[in-house]
């Protein structure tokens, strides 16, 4: 599904990712761990197509080189990024935003747009699955949301948009244990054989609830170690500095 080959990324001539290779197949859950400044969030941004990076190497998504494809086209093709810091958009109802988003993606696939009524039915169902209060949907997007609410909103969007590849950028940071469980349940319930996850995290905590198939350790812009779920426990004990 995703195949990253020799990826080099720099910002203002500063090299952040250096010769990174990663392959993710449908049905797999990959976790990327690493210390602050190792390039984790840069990887998430680059995969989503954010501007402002100089890029060498290849990013293939479903066999297609997406290096030059815009953010919205990547989203329409099924790449979803759960933001570390979800953005507030004042005056825009969460509902309206989610419907616009879903319909943009449906339109790009040549599917019919959902009308308000059918959309509300769908979104209420999804919210219920995640234990999110309906009232939340009529609030302005992320405005005045607590850290936990913002992250839950990201997971709700993921479940609504049904992406092929979901990238979670430190979704666990700043969450209390209950919110963490909701997020993990959201991910686990969406996990299917034809979609995949790339979970970026600083701590092992989230991985108590989501079982990754692979763990990669990112350090100084490179994947320095790849292992199974047990690697996370090891790292929790010994830290990153031995790598």
């Amino acid at each position: 599904m995703l195949n990253i080959k020799n990826l080099k990324v720099s910002v203002e001539n500063k090299l952040i990712l250096n010769d990174l290779n990663l392959k993710i197949n449908p049905g797999e859950v990959h976790a990327i761990m690493g210390p602050n400044g190792s390039g984790k969030s840069t990887l998430a941004n680059v995969l989503s197509g954010k501007k402002g990076y100089e890029i060498q190497g290849e990013i293939l998504f479903d066999e297609l080189n997406i290096n030059d494809i815009s953010v919205e086209e990547r989203a329409q093709k099924g790449i979803f990024l759960a933001f570390q810091y979800p953005v507030e958009i004042p005056g825009v109802n969460t509902n309206v935003f989610l419907r616009t988003s879903l319909n943009s993606i449906r339109k790009s696939k040549g599917e019919k747009e959902l009308d308000t009524l059918n959309f509300l039915k769908l979104i209420k169902e999804k919210a219920k699955e995640l234990g999110i209060d309906e009232k939340f949907l009529s609030r302005q997007l992320n405005v005045g949301f607590s850290g936990g609410e913002k992250k839950k909103n990201e997971i709700l969007q993921m479940k609504l948009l049904q992406p092929k590849l979901s990238i979670l950028d430190e979704t666990d940071s700043g969450l209390d244990i209950d919110a963490l469980k909701i997020v993990a349940d959201g991910v686990n319930s969406y996990k299917k054989k034809d979609n995949a996850f790339l979970i970026i995290t600083h701590y092992q905590r989230l991985l108590d609830y989501i079982k990754p198939d692979f763990i990669h350790v990112l350090s100084k812009g490179k994947i320095v170690k790849t292992g199974s779920a047990e690697l996370a426990l090891e790292l929790e004990k010994s830290g990153y500095k031995n790598l």
Binding site: V71, V87, P90, G91, S101, L161
Partner: protein
């Protein structure tokens, strides 16, 4: 109808011209052309005298020049002050008699005048250049004692009301453009709501400039008698031309005891092309008086068109406990300029005013909020709240906020908040990541920014206005 010079511009979809024979006043500003207007409208002599008095006064006045957007000198002798479709020279008595070309024009604009296609629950007065060509739902309104007709008709049929109120809010000598309007005004709407009557539908006027080299001098007068309520909406469009055309309207609102007037404007005059050639000069005087106690006047404006918009819909809060509101969205793109805001004059006790202004600037445009809050000595316990937000798109446009605040007593309070922000790259990125393209994202963010104002519009028009906001900003983020 010479010198059309129409431009091909996809974005302004109302830029077409209707090819129709018209009757025009002699070119230029003179007693002769004023007499021509008064005569063709079969006005009583008091009306002509009033016009001539204004004209005399005009000669002593100078055009103001304190505004931010400057413009080349207007040659007032090179304009036509009256232009009307020939077919309506004897005003049609029923819709069947209106020139089909005019009906077609309004249909193209989305304003059906024909009986079976009428907008539900909205009565429309359609003004084409200098004359009102049709007013719908008249009979239904008449049953309730509501008068909704063109000002020309009101001058003939309801002279006592017109005589009493015209010029009572905007005096003859007010300022150059208002006085010019008083001398040469051609048509506009007249509304009278009798006591304790709630107008059962939205009243609306649709202004269309068609003829070239013509100024449009609209005059609207709305009177809400004791305990009545009315919601009124105006919309405006014009063809695309290389020349600049002048629209200098006067709108007067009078709210008596316990009455409420809600006045909404969706202004979409031709803004000129991408290089700032052509477009309407929208120099308008709008003023309402809350004459009676507990009365309320609320202005809502969505200003997206015109080369230059220069207007301050204002409220004189004379009655005790009266309320004035001003909700504004002013969008300027390319080379458009706007200098707009409001004046809230507090005279009565416990009067309240609220100002919410949203200015959006893109391209090379310049957008100024200018507003006056004046609380008189006697207006004890009065309050004002003002919020001015500016949104900038790109780095070649400008936003300015010029508030004038006068508080002459110690029991009143004034609050003023102002913000200026640039459209946020992170917000755009977030929207893009959710599949929205750049234009959808801008539209969503800007509509969110304007929400407090948009939700003041009558529901039927809110959706249209949202679309207009998006269209006005097309191509403004690269």
């Amino acid at each position: 109808m010479k010198n059309q010079n129409l431009n091909i511009n996809q974005e302004y979809k109302y830029g077409f011209t209707t090819d129709i024979e018209s009757i025009k006043a002699p070119k230029g500003l003179s007693e002769e052309s004023i007499k021509f207007i008064s005569n063709i409208k079969k006005e009583p002599s008091w009306m002509l005298d009033w016009r001539l008095k204004a004209f005399k006064r005009l000669k002593t006045l100078k055009e103001p020049n304190w505004q931010k957007p400057k413009y080349p000198k207007i040659d007032y002798q090179d304009l036509y002050y009256y232009s009307a479709p020939k077919s309506s020279s004897n005003k049609p008595k029923s819709l069947d008699e209106i020139d089909p070309k005019i009906i077609e024009t309004y249909k193209k604009l989305g304003i059906p005048l024909v009986e079976q296609q009428r907008l539900n629950g909205i009565a429309v007065d359609a003004v084409f250049d200098s004359v009102s060509v049709a007013t719908t739902f008249k009979e239904e309104l008449t049953k309730k004692g509501i008068i909704f007709c063109s000002i020309s008709e009101a001058i003939q049929k309801h002279p006592e009301l017109v005589k009493k109120y015209i010029g009572s809010v905007i005096p003859l000598s007010d300022h150059y453009f208002a006085t010019l309007n008083s001398a040469v005004f051609t048509d506009g709407s007249f509304v009278y709501i009798p006591p304790n009557t709630r107008c059962p539908m939205e009243l609306s006027t649709y202004f269309r400039i068609n003829a070239s080299e013509t100024g449009q001098f609209e005059r609207t007068l709305i009177i809400a008698d004791k305990g009545s309520y009315v919601s009124y909406l105006e919309g405006c469009t014009a063809p695309m031309r290389d020349e600049n055309q002048l629209h200098a309207a006067n709108v007067e609102l009078i709210a008596l005891d316990d009455a409420e007037i809600k006045y909404s404007t969706v202004q979409n005059w031709y803004p000129g092309d991408k290089d700032g050639v052509g477009g309407i000069y929208n120099f308008v005087t709008k003023r309402g008086i809350c004459k009676g106690k507990n009365s309320k006047i609320s202005w809502t404006q969505v200003e997206t068109g015109s080369a230059i918009t220069w207007k301050y819909p204002s409220c004189i809060l004379q009655g005790d406990n009266s309320v004035g509101e001003f909700y504004s969205i002013a969008i300027t793109n390319n080379h458009q300029k706007a200098d707009t805001g409001t004046k809230m004059i507090h005279l009565g006790k416990n009067t309240k005013s609220k100002i919410i202004s949203k200015g959006i600037s893109a391209g090379f445009a310049d957008n100024t909020y200018r507003g006056l809050v004046d609380i008189n000595e006697k207006a004890t316990n009065s309050r004002n709240y003002t919020q001015c937000d500016s949104l900038l798109m790109g780095n070649k446009c400008g936003a300015h906020t010029v508030p004038y605040i006068k508080n002459k007593n110690s029991t009143s309070t004034i609050e003023h908040e102002a913000t200026t922000t640039k459209i946020n790259e992170e917000q755009l990125y977030y929207c893009n990541q959710r599949g929205l393209d750049q234009e959808e994202a801008v539209s969503l963010i800007v509509n969110g920014f304007c929400k407090e104002v948009l939700q003041q519009l009558p529901m039927e028009f809110a959706v249209e206005a949202q679309k207009l906001v998006a269209i006005s900003l097309e191509g403004s983020v690269g």
